[in-house]
């Protein structure tokens, strides 16, 4: 099951087709992604699950134009961006169509800008008047369950959970069509994790499409409509979240599901894990 069953009647916000990415100099070229295809409809949340070295961050970086694909096409909101140069990417990003949230908000937020300035900046770049920008900043702060008294704080004066919510608000403030989230909750404790996942779930009503990339099947299962499983650079399984978790087809997906800690783990899972490990390592 390596093809992606296109779910939407509407045109996809993101359509990746036959994506190939290689790293390294010619002689020691290593394949990071192989024949990855994925499409995401407006308002849909697609989870991309993969472990160390699976190529999940490469996928995020390629879709954001930070890494160049060696083959395949990337269509964002109807625009083929695969062959875009830096200048065209900059123009696309400025329009705020595609946004991103990374694991560590301390690195993605300017440490010298207050929350208010950080959130307003992408709007001012677009030429939105100051008063309107200020109103929108406040609206989006509420969306991520933060209060206005945080507006004049610096990122260093916020807790980890608050910081990540500011990063989410910053990604949303330009009302993008697509947000790529790479491990957005991995550095958070459980209370903050739940809160960020809750916020992401609420976004669904806006029609923004989310790509939620994580090594943690639990978090992905919590928010995704569909799940894509990346293993050694290939999307080995793509399907509805419930199907992937209840009836995983690829041996690696089965191992992932049987390995993820759940409250319902049974002793029988251990024998199954052993068998799957033997199968995958053969």
């Amino acid at each position: 099951m390596s093809t992606d069953p296109n779910p939407g009647r509407t045109a996809p916000v993101l359509a990746v087709e036959g994506l190939e990415v290689h790293y390294g100099p010619r002689r020691r070229r290593r394949r990071a992604l192989h024949d990855v295809s994925l499409s995401i409809a407006p308002g849909e949340t697609v989870g991309v699950i993969g472990e160390t070295g699976s190529g999940k961050s490469t996928l995020a970086r390629t879709v954001l134009g930070l890494v160049r694909a060696s083959a395949g096409s990337i269509v964002i909101d109807g625009e083929e961006v695969g062959a875009y140069g830096p200048r065209q990417w900059r123009a696309l990003r400025r329009r705020g169509v595609v946004q991103y949230v990374f694991q560590d908000p301390l690195r993605s937020l300017d440490p010298d800008l207050t929350v208010e300035d950080s959130l307003a900046e992408p709007l001012l770049v677009q030429g939105v008047p100051r008063t309107e920008a200020a109103a929108r900043v406040r609206a989006f702060l509420t969306r991520v369950h933060l209060t206005e008294d945080l507006l004049d704080r610096l990122p260093g004066e916020l807790s980890g959970g608050q910081r990540q919510r500011v990063a989410v608000a910053r990604a949303l403030v330009t009302e993008p069509r697509l947000v790529i989230l790479d491990e957005p909750v991995s550095a958070l404790d459980s209370a903050n994790r739940v809160q960020v996942l809750q916020i992401l779930k609420e976004l669904r009503t806006d029609g923004v499409a989310l790509v939620f990339i994580s090594h943690d099947l639990g978090s992905v299962a919590g928010v995704a409509d569909r799940i894509a499983v990346l293993y050694q650079g290939e999307a080995v399984e793509v399907g509805a979240a419930a199907d992937v978790i209840n009836t995983p087809r690829h041996p690696y997906t089965r191992l992932l599901v049987r390995s993820a800690p759940t409250l319902h783990s049974a002793p029988a899972d251990r024998a199954e894990r052993e068998a799957l490990r033997a199968l995958l390592h053969a």
Partner: protein, 292 residues
């Protein structure tokens, strides 16, 4: 789980001093830990008994006191932290007032531990095998060649695929999961009766985490090792433990058999930990009452 008494008899080298299996190897009674510098009590009374082949889990977020409790049992509390109440008995000995020499003889051979970041517990410029062999030479007083042989056996016992190769490798050549296996090998080298795993799988990928948890379960069944598993994740603890303690701000808010805690949680905080899995985790699909 198989009966402990049988398993205990089997590998003679792992039982330095035979103790009746029903008798706890680690007994923690109303332990209170204070930060003497700040003049503040951090852990407000933790109690549990651990018999051979059994596993106790401690769940809580950072700052809940779970690591301090473990460190107290290992005699490695940070500077100006002290046990200010209750008692800890290790293999029948009250550890209060233990001298450094007494600790040195007990640590490794009676109680041992593995922690979150395996790379920081190994010297990057010494081959990992030599570091495990050193434990064996010092603790078992054997010659180098014999220590090497036993190390390779241990590396095999922790399911490292090519133990001879791994013996000669450096930390940077091994993955996080392999390093954690090396540290588990070092931790069980002197045949301890209690192994503390403090967030030992937190930094690992889930499939690797499951491999390490399965390995701990194997060791427990084969050698009668008693485990203390500490995690922020209730599900990790649930997978392996007979009894669970839920710690919050130094207070045990819930304690009981794993099944009881999972299915009839009494404290709101425990219910929150469970809800996290049921609403935002795999359990959302796996739980029979939830239908997605």
């Amino acid at each position: 789980m198989s009966t402990l008494s049988e398993k205990l008899q089997a590998p003679a080298e792992h039982t330095a001093k035979p103790v009746r299996p029903s008798q706890p190897v680690l007994s923690v009674r109303e332990v209170r830990i204070s930060d003497q510098a700040a003049g503040r009590e951090i852990v407000h009374g933790v109690s549990f008994d651990l018999t051979p082949g059994r596993t106790v889990g401690i769940v809580g977020e950072s700052g809940s006191g779970k690591t301090l409790t473990c460190r107290a049992a290992l005699g490695i509390l940070p500077a100006h932290f002290e046990v200010t109440g209750g008692s800890i008995e290790l293999d029948g000995h009250d550890i209060t007032g233990f001298s450094t020499a007494e600790w040195t003889s007990l640590r490794g051979s009676t109680i041992s531990a593995v922690f979150q970041d395996p790379a920081s517990y190994l010297n990057p410029s010494i081959r990992v095998g030599a570091q495990v062999a050193e434990v064996i030479r010092v603790k078992k007083k054997v010659r180098r060649r014999e220590a090497r042989r036993q190390t390779i056996e241990l590396l095999r016992a922790v399911h490292l695929r090519d133990p001879e190769l791994v013996y000669g490798q450096y930390t940077y050549e091994l993955s996080g999961g392999m390093l954690q296996r090396v540290l588990i090998a070092a931790a069980i080298a002197a045949g301890p009766r209690v192994l503390i795993a403090d967030e030992a799988t937190t930094a690992l990928d889930v499939t690797v985490q499951a491999e390490i948890l399965d390995l701990l379960a194997d060791l427990r069944e084969q050698t009668g090792l008693a485990l203390v598993v500490v995690s922020h994740d209730l599900a990790v603890v649930a997978q392996l433990c007979d009894e669970v303690l839920v710690l919050r701000q130094g207070e045990v808010v819930e304690q009981g058999p794993t099944h009881e805690v999972l299915h009839h949680p009494r404290h709101a905080y425990t219910r929150l930990l469970i809800a996290e899995h049921e609403q935002y985790g795999l359990d959302r699909f796996l739980a029979p009452e939830e239908d997605a």
